[in-house]
């Protein structure tokens, strides 16, 4: 086990270590029907899922790489799909017994502090090492109240009816090229079901990790909150650094029914060579509340716009996000709020920092459909650019098709003020410490929404990113 101080005193290199590859099954690189059939066959899936995968593969092949257009990025041209492994299984079945987890994998998790986190206050841990969940536990109390928290493969096997009813209804395969890719080759992820009226008061947590060269990770998460249910799900990722490009392309679908409340928290810290192309979307029904708390620190390129479709009267959506882009990174992140029902409200708050040639892009959509009367939308974007080599774009799309609406959007871009720096330095702080302090303060509206352990980890990550990069 890891010493008590691990979370406060780790060093960044532990996120850069890499274990020897030792896998039971590894699909051949490149993507074709055979690979999809192999994945589905290995998992012993029902026929409908195989058909769904094959249809999605067809859509993926037909859709062009989005390098120009509204939700596109020219940097996607650099991805070589033929070099990506579409499926890797490490270990046989998901484990509930810690002792049975392979030592190598345990070492990885221990260095990430997972057992530590679990001991403190976590209820469930679904830790994803490679494409499938290998360790899983959930407090008995919740199981007895009907809460399901499984890896997605087990979810499909054990709860086929719930699964079939909701899978692909929020993010259809044809939504975008990478949603199609995910649908074709998905593996792992979390399946969460909270029955009506059940309030889960401790966060459900899952760690994800990529650990194979040229390996894509395509987890699929499906979360359903029945009427009046409440839950908070936390996802954090780290990855070792490799020299060739890797792809992470997840799909997260969330259904928040009448009066239910849900929060989804992510800290994304993939290695700086990973393309992180994620479709995250929730539908919120009458008086439901959906919150995305989304931090993006790692990856080569992230494209992620967590969305809430406000389908029922009085529904509420919120996205609170931060992005940090250092050398060679582009954080292209944002949010989408689509108001379909009357009396719906939404808020988007985005903070981004770019440094050492990094680039941040905020892209967002605030849409009010006809009939969504008395909608209220508030959008705030603030960007800090820390040096002359870095850049920031803000591209908010606002589409209003209803007159009884209140929309307000505000954005600022700036640098750290000389006066602020001077003041802090006159109090005896080194310039790098002063800058760190200002950046942490800038991100504070985000970090204060995180569980303390995560807030500390995020602050440490930012400080390390800031270290030695002044001047």
């Amino acid at each position: 086990m890891v010493a008590e101080t691990t979370n406060l005193d780790f060093d960044y290199t532990k996120y850069g270590f890499r274990n020897e590859e030792r896998y039971i099954f590894k699909a051949a690189p490149g993507l074709n029907e055979q690979v999809v059939r192999e994945i589905s066959g290995m998992k012993g899936e029902p026929e409908w899922m195989l058909k769904r995968r094959l249809k999605a593969l067809d859509i993926f092949n037909k859709k062009p790489v989005p390098i120009t257009g509204t939700w596109a990025n020219a940097e996607l041209a650099e991805l070589d799909y033929d070099k990506i492994h579409y499926f890797v299984r490490a270990g046989e079945r998901p484990q509930n017994d810690w002792d049975a987890v392979p030592q190598e994998i345990k070492d990885t998790f221990e260095r990430l502090g997972i057992p530590e986190a679990e001991r403190k206050f976590l209820a469930g841990v679904g830790a994803q090492y490679e494409s499938e969940v290998v360790y899983h536990s959930l407090r008995e109390e919740w199981t007895s109240r009907g809460v399901i928290f499984l890896d997605t493969d087990s979810g499909l096997r054990e709860y086929p009816e719930i699964f079939k009813e909701y899978f692909g209804t929020v993010v259809p395969s044809a939504d975008n090229k990478y949603a199609a890719l995910n649908t074709a080759v998905w593996s792992g992820g979390s399946f969460v079901y909270v029955p009506a009226g059940v309030k889960v008061d401790i966060p459900l947590q899952a760690y994800f990790r990529i650990n194979a060269e040229n390996m894509g990770q395509f987890e699929r998460t499906l979360i359903i909150l029945e009427e009046g249910a409440e839950a908070h799900y936390i996802e954090g990722c780290t990855a070792p650094i490799y020299s060739t490009n890797s792809l992470h392309s997840a799909v997260v679908e969330i259904i928040v029914k009448k009066g239910a409340k849900f929060r989804y928290t992510t800290i994304q810290n993939w290695a700086n060579n990973i393309y992180n192309l994620v479709t995250k979307r929730a539908v919120a029904y009458e008086d439901a509340s959906m919150e995305w708390v989304d931090g993006n620190i790692g990856s080569r390129l992230t494209m992620k716009y967590p969305s809430v479709y406000l389908m029922g009267r009085g529904a509420r959506g919120e996205v609170l996000s931060v992005a940090y882009a250092g050398r060679g990174q582009h954080q292209d992140a944002g949010a989408k709020m689509v108001h379909i029902a009357p009396d719906t409200t939404s808020r988007i708050t985005n903070k981004s920092v770019s440094k050492n040639g990094g680039k941040t892009t905020y892209r967002g959509l605030a849409k009010v459909a006809p009939g969504a009367t008395n909608s209220k939308i508030n959008v705030n974007c603030d960007a800090l650019i820390l040096d002359e080599h870095s850049a920031s774009d803000t591209i908010p799309y606002i589409e209003i098709e209803e007159d009884r609406t209140i929309l307000a959007h505000e954005a600022t871009v700036g640098r750290i003020g000389e006066e602020q720096l001077f003041y802090l330095m006159s109090r005896g702080l080194a310039e790098s410490d002063a800058m760190s302090m200002i950046v942490l303060g800038f991100m504070e509206p985000f970090t204060r929404e995180l569980p303390m352990e995560y807030a500390i980890e995020l602050n440490r990550l930012i400080q390390m990113e800031m270290e030695g990069s002044v001047g």
Partner: protein
């Protein structure tokens, strides 16, 4: 005060049948200089080969370009200048004639701000322009009273590509009103105006661009002001007429210390689709910009504000602010806003934008009604107040009155 309407035209084949030979014959028979013939041909070749730009928010399906026949010669350029101004050395004349009388000047500036090869339609404009104006203000000359150019569609015409080329030497001042107007048409017509304005060091321009086309006109235009060192501009853009509008506009702060103050007013009602894409581009250092665009939509009107603040890497100590506000008067009206920021340097003094959309607040209406106004009066007053900064910035009373009446009729 001569108000000269220039008109002399011949028909050309429709855009579907028009070829490079027609372009070169038209240019040569008009006795144009060889370089201009070549420019037109190059632009035509580009037009014929290029795919149309992807404009998600501009619907051109009703426009059938193959049925639209452009004209050779000037069909409706009206230039209102002042003799006193001409005596100061100001040149204000049709651009076609200026390509001969002021060939070197035209050649130096034409197409230097707006690249004809930007996309298919900019190339079309560069190939086919006939109507147009050269306006040249020599160094140190100050023109206070507004000079006016108006472009009109001739009877029966379904295409016009007016080209305004405006050049201010150093320490000059100019006040210019540019208008587009036509009667209502029952079939679609194409207007493709280009305006390039070069403002020399320390010079100052007031520029009002007023679009009041009649029904049926599809306006695919481009405008740019390039500001040299310490130059300043006050720009007011009004978009009221036409069926479909797609205007790409840019204030380019090229020189250190240059500044722009840009006001806009757009009113889309019935089934109008009016798009404006105004860019504030900061290249020089210590440049300042302020943009304030107001939009009203009613009926099934649809407006798009696709604005951008672009701060280039070499720019230092930029200060910029973009504001965009939309009022919806009816449930079926629609407005899109995309107030973008692209910042490639951290040396920014201030950069921000704000955007709001919504209906007139019930409280405001209630307050005014409680003062004895009818609901219609209250709405009218609020909309007129909303547009007031742009209307007040117009440099001519008669124009302000005419546009006020036009806006009131739309409410």
């Amino acid at each position: 005060m001569p108000d000269t309407l220039f008109r002399s035209t011949n028909g050309l084949p429709g855009l579907g049948a028009l070829g490079a030979d027609d372009i070169s014959a038209m240019s040569q028979s008009a006795g144009e200089p060889g370089w201009l013939t070549e420019q037109r041909l190059a632009a035509w070749t580009f037009f014929a080969q290029a795919l149309p730009p992807v404009w998600r928010r501009t619907d051109l399906t009703q426009l059938q370009p193959e049925t639209i026949a452009p004209l050779s010669g000037i069909q409706g350029t009206s230039i209102l200048a002042d003799d006193a101004v001409t005596r100061q050395g100001v040149v204000m004349m049709p651009l076609l004639a200026a390509t001969k009388s002021h060939e070197a000047l035209v050649r130096q500036y034409l197409g230097k701000a707006i690249d004809p090869m930007s996309h298919k339609f900019s190339a079309l404009r560069a190939a086919l322009w006939q109507d147009g104006m050269l306006l040249y203000v020599p160094r140190g000359v100050e023109v206070a009273a507004p000079l006016r150019v108006t472009y009109q569609l001739a009877d029966g015409s379904r295409a016009i590509f007016p080209y305004s080329l405006v050049i201010l030497e150093a320490h000059a001042q100019l006040n210019l009103i540019e208008e587009y107007t036509s009667p209502d048409l029952d079939q679609p017509a194409l207007a493709g105006p280009t305006t390039e304005i070069f403002v020399g060091p320390g010079s100052h321009i007031r520029y009002a661009s007023v679009q009041t086309w009649g029904q049926g006109i599809h306006h695919l235009g481009s405008q740019m002001i390039v500001l040299d060192r310490d130059a300043a501009g006050e720009w007011v853009s009004l978009s009221l007429g036409g069926k479909v509008q797609h205007i790409e506009a840019e204030s380019r702060m090229q020189g250190d210390g240059s500044a722009i103050n840009w006001l806009g007013a757009t009113f889309a009602n019935q089934q109008q689709h009016l798009l404006t894409a105004p860019w504030l581009r900061h290249i020089g250092s210590n440049t300042n910009s302020l943009m304030d665009f107001k939009t009203v939509v009613s009926g099934e009107g649809y407006s798009v504000f696709d604005g951008m603040i672009k701060i280039e890497h070499e720019s230092r100590a930029t200060s910029t602010r973009l504001e965009e506000h939309a009022i919806h008067l009816t449930p079926k009206a629609r407005s899109d806003s995309i107030p973008g920021l692209k910042i490639d340097t951290n040396d920014v003094a201030k950069a921000g934008h704000a955007s709001t959309s919504g209906q007139i607040e019930d409280e405001h209406l209630f307050y005014m009604q409680s003062r004895g106004m009818s609901q219609e009066e209250a709405r009218r007053l609020i909309v007129m107040g909303f547009f007031d900064p742009a209307l007040q910035a117009l440099p001519a009373d008669d124009l302000r009155e005419r546009l006020t009446a036009l806006i009131e009729a739309k409410i």
